[in-house]
């Protein structure tokens, strides 16, 4: 991986960590150089485990949907027997897409170009007149839909890997599994994706969103209008929120480039933290949920599930935010200065309708293209991308915050350093 590359001379690495001086700098070429994007496609998006979708999105046998993952287009489906598959959405015959609707339910797929058809387990199902093709035509499976090299799941989250080699999903996820568990354990029965997908874009390099997704440092500055709103909507008052001292605050390197920030926050958490505006009924339901969590998991873990907020980035591009709502988000580079985001809301299957409505309110108030916060993040990322036009004279980003501190806080930058160390290992070939 460390072959000579004129754009990446070994004496000028992109990621420059100086442990003795507690400084961490990233060369802004990382955000603008198409040659670096090419290396990322080869060494990150073609070798890492990438999020495909949630099991609840394929409720019934024969359900299918289309997903864009790592620059490929996949059919994610359940076959007639309920088994989950991921196929490249391309006809083995002449290359047209075999599925052109974004989702549906189908026993088989048929290419509209020449009519080759396939069972929904991927097996070639066309019948031709004798002698049209040799008798052993599909002996090697060349006429079947092509499956992704590896497909695996962890707690109903399905992942693909475009490389047949490398560590298992379980080993890859490393410490992220524990954080996923805290989110999935919101329900004893299971979690589901709530109807509707937010598909939007940002005119910025994809790594800017990876950084932003667990950046606790920018919130008070970038999201001041949300905090103003939160003061009123929760019933606590904006000044009280600003004066509150952060508790439970930490930034955790989860291994393999994954990292999470954890902290307490004043917003209502439908899993088990009520706010004054939810009233007596809301508090009663929350108290019952909290008691049940303690019964199941003991007081410490119950408290963490109920009160801890966690923004996690699973390297390179899966974000699970267990905050005022539970969100799953992936994003990919479309170009060096453009990324595409896809976001979902995750919720307990057995959620009370009033809490489901509050959860969606919470989601929309902060998150997504029309929220009171996400559009300002988008503006910040696009602004940074514009700022990088000055990289010849102002070449480095600084990510040193908290590096000198023994215990990293949620508004330090340890989680971004974890991302960049893994990025550097894969893209720059640094051990």
């Amino acid at each position: 991986m460390a072959e000579a590359d004129p754009l990446l001379p070994r004496d000028a690495p992109i990621v420059r960590e100086d442990v003795t001086r507690s400084t961490f700098r990233v060369d802004r070429r990382a955000f603008v150089d198409p040659a670096i994007l090419k290396r990322e496609r080869d060494h990150i998006f073609s070798t890492c485990w990438l999020y495909l979708g949630h099991a609840s999105e394929l409720k019934r046998p024969n359900d299918f949907l289309i997903r864009s993952v790592g620059g490929r287009e996949l059919v994610f489906n359940r076959d007639r027997k309920g088994a989950v598959h991921a196929f490249f959405n391309v006809c083995p015959h002449r290359g047209a897409q075999v599925v052109r609707e974004s989702s549906g339910n189908a026993m088989s797929f048929r290419c509209f170009y020449h009519g080759w058809s396939f069972n929904n387990n991927g097996q070639f199902a066309s019948r031709f007149d004798a002698e049209t093709y040799p008798a052993d035509f599909n002996a090697e499976g060349c006429a079947n839909l092509r499956s992704v090299p590896r497909l695996d799941s962890y707690r109903d989250l399905w992942f693909v890997n475009f490389s047949a080699e490398g560590e298992s999903l379980s080993d890859y996820l490393a410490g992220a599994k524990e954080i996923i568990d805290l989110a999935v354990d919101h329900s004893e029965i299971g979690m589901e994706v709530v109807g509707g997908t937010q598909e939007y874009s940002i005119r910025a390099n994809w790594k800017l969103l990876a950084e932003n997704s667990n950046d606790g440092y920018h919130a008070s500055e970038t999201h001041s209008t949300y905090i103003d709103y939160l003061g009123v909507s929760t019933g606590y008052g904006a000044q009280a929120l600003r004066n509150a001292k952060p508790t439970l605050s930490r930034g955790i390197d989860l291994g393999n480039g994954h990292a999470v920030i954890e902290y307490a926050a004043a917003w209502g958490r439908p899993v088990a933290q009520s706010i004054p505006t939810w009233g007596e009924h809301g508090k009663a339901v929350i108290d019952a949920k909290r008691a049940r969590l303690e019964e199941l998991y003991g007081p410490d873990r119950a408290r963490r599930i109920a009160r801890g907020n966690r923004n996690m980035v699973i390297f390179p591009n899966l974000v699970i935010n267990d905050i005022m709502a539970l969100t799953v988000r992936t994003f990919y580079p479309e170009q060096v200065d453009e990324l595409h985001v896809t976001g979902w809301a995750l919720a307990p299957v057995d959620e009370d309708p009033q809490f489901r409505a509050w959860r969606l309110d919470n989601f929309l108030e902060f998150l997504g293209p029309g929220g009171f916060a996400t559009p300002d993040d988008v503006e910040a990322l696009e602004s940074a991308q514009k700022g990088y036009r000055n990289l010849a004279e102002v070449p480095f980003n600084d990510l040193s915050r908290g590096m000198a501190r023994a215990e990293k806080l949620h508004d330090d930058e340890e989680q971004m350093r974890a991302f960049w160390r893994e990025w550097s290992r894969r893209v720059e070939g640094v051990a």
Partner: protein, 174 residues
């Protein structure tokens, strides 16, 4: 929740104000938004009104209580949206975008002595940071006839897009 799945050809137009009166109202509303006179725009809404933007391509009749929208404001949250957009801390719209709306194909979907359901098409242009985004879609209004003139009891803005690429965000009022 307002019932939005109104039959497209339902025109029970007894005692109609006439299409021009509704058009004038919609054109006035568009001008207030184009000129960023947001407090005056908010004053067009009745107490208890809603303003909603479903996700791109959502069917008419989608329910924000059970499905993910971009915007599903009740009256109080809409007031906050306007307060926010008036602050420099609303970075996505400060400096403000240049915006321009074209309203067309205005139809009276149903009307009685108290209220009317109005449909129209819109194209909204938003320019900022050297980029112009185009938002095509259709509005559905529930308008009340009051002593002070027409007022909005519900507005829903459907984006006739399959997703929000490349627009990226709905940080303006549509």
């Amino acid at each position: 929740m307002t019932e939005w799945a109104v039959a497209m050809t339902d025109q029970g137009a007894t005692a109609s104000l006439g299409r021009a009166a509704f058009e004038d109202f919609l054109f006035h509303e568009a001008a207030l938004l184009d000129e960023w006179r947001l407090d005056e725009w908010f004053a067009l809404f009745t107490e208890g009104a809603t303003y909603e933007v479903p996700t791109a391509g959502a069917p008419d009749g989608a329910d924000p209580q059970t499905t993910l929208f971009y915007i599903a404001d009740d009256y109080a949250r809409l007031q906050h949206r306007i307060d926010r957009l008036n602050k420099p801390g609303a970075h996505s719209e400060f400096p403000r975008s240049k915006v321009m709306r074209v309203i067309s194909n205005v139809r009276i979907l149903s009307e009685n002595a108290e209220e009317a359901r109005i449909g129209c098409c819109f194209v909204t242009y938003r320019s900022k940071n050297d980029v112009t985004d185009v938002f095509p879609g259709h509005h559905r209004y529930l308008l009340r006839k009051t002593a002070d003139g027409l007022r909005i009891a519900a507005k829903r803005s459907y984006l006739d897009l399959t997703n929000l690429r490349p627009q990226g965000r709905v940080s303006i009022i549509l």
